[in-house]
Symmetry: C2
Subunit: 242 residues, 2 copies
């Protein structure tokens, strides 16, 4: 059975997240429905990362097996014709049998956008706040994150993960006018990790926590220690590396 | 009666446009409703430009008269608390009695965005097409528009305008990856003018009309001659000058 790799973008606003759920509209559900309709077979799509409800993806990757050889260009066109307008498929290619969107991935990149000017047009794609944010503190916190750490303090409780170690290669803030953007790349991410990191960094940068505390939280391996979780709508999965 | 100048942004997606209409949700209607509720008086808001249904504004200006002196900062906060999330008020100041958002304006600027890569996240804020667009032809057309011209050929019929002369100071395209952005500034605009200009320029740039025709259309003073109107969702009012 040919194994197909699909790259797609979605607007997370009206989804319960990537993953199929009994109740609610998921990206995986919409994708599998469209594929079933086109290919007339049961399809299970494996995503590289399970984005939460409201989280966007500029580039998500999925793979699925099809019963027989397909014309990739044709399938891509058919998919985009059937998918709802908040999901777009970009690329589709046949890959080796053992390729798995999630397990074969060697890196994921996320971006988180904080906007300090109220906005009507971008309201669903940022966290709007007017805190007095110290940019230097944000950057110091971001630098602490680089390297191999146990990120248990920044992992949502209630998940079934036992391994909390992640290797972070990129972690930095950029500022353009009233817009603060955090970019992070790691081999893997824990559940809720980016939002907890951003929420905690912003608490430090607005003076609600001393700067030293960020390192202490990172070393504590205890989720109770971290700050608030930044809202889902500011988060974008931007790249999956293989 | 104090005269108040208000600067606001809106996402035009779910509006019938700026102007109050009997049926449908207008920006003016939402603004007047919120002001009435706060100030407990009838309010008539005058906008600098009547954006069409689906057209966005990064910066629209309105003015209105209030019965007595107000605390501007307080009114701005109250407004943003009452306005729906697709309208945001930025600035509010008292201006001389004779200031009129529309008649006092000396320039308006618009931006039009064409996106050639399908997008889920930006789908409501651009015109997506995959035409093979010749960038040089776009730029040549844009240059033709600069100066004082009769723009009747690019004015939607059925409006009550008799003066078709506009003085264009800025008219240029910029390209970033798959995104083409047209920026135009003029003392005034005719109904549907930017969308007709963009639609016609794109027809030339994709080879559907010879380049000479653009100048001929501009000189023809006849709306029947221009090309298609580019979709509303790619258009942004970006600045009103006084």
């Amino acid at each position: 059975m040919p194994n197909i790799k699909l790259t797609l973008e979605y607007d997370g606003t009206d989804f319960v997240g990537w993953q199929l759920q009994e109740n609610g509209r998921s990206v995986q559900g919409e994708l599998e429905k469209a594929l079933r309709q086109i290919l007339q077979q049961e399809i299970r799509a494996h995503g590289a990362g399970r984005t939460d409800s409201g989280v966007h993806a500029r580039e998500q990757v999925a793979n699925f097996y099809v019963a027989e050889k397909i014309d990739g260009g044709l399938l891509l066109k058919a998919l985009n014709a059937l998918l709802p307008e908040d999901v777009v498929a970009f690329e589709l290619e046949e890959v080796p049998d053992n390729f798995h969107a999630r397990f074969s991935a060697t890196s994921r990149s996320y971006e988180y956008v904080v906007e300090q000017r109220p906005t009507a047009i971008g309201r669903k794609y940022c966290w709007f706040n007017t805190y007095a944010i110290d940019r230097i503190l944000l950057e110091h916190c971001a630098a602490e994150v680089i390297g191999i750490h146990n990120f248990r303090s920044f992992c949502k409780t209630g998940n079934d993960s036992h391994d909390f170690e992640c290797s972070v290669s990129v972690s930095s803030w950029s500022v353009e006018g009233t817009r603060f953007a955090y970019r992070i790349t790691a081999n893997r991410f824990l559940y809720g990790m980016v939002r907890a990191l951003v929420g905690t960094m912003v608490e430090v940068a607005r003076g609600h926590r001393p700067y030293d505390e960020f390192r202490r939280i990172l070393l504590a391996n205890d989720r109770g220690k971290a700050g608030m979780s930044a809202p889902a709508q500011g988060l974008f999965l931007t790249k999956v590396g293989y």
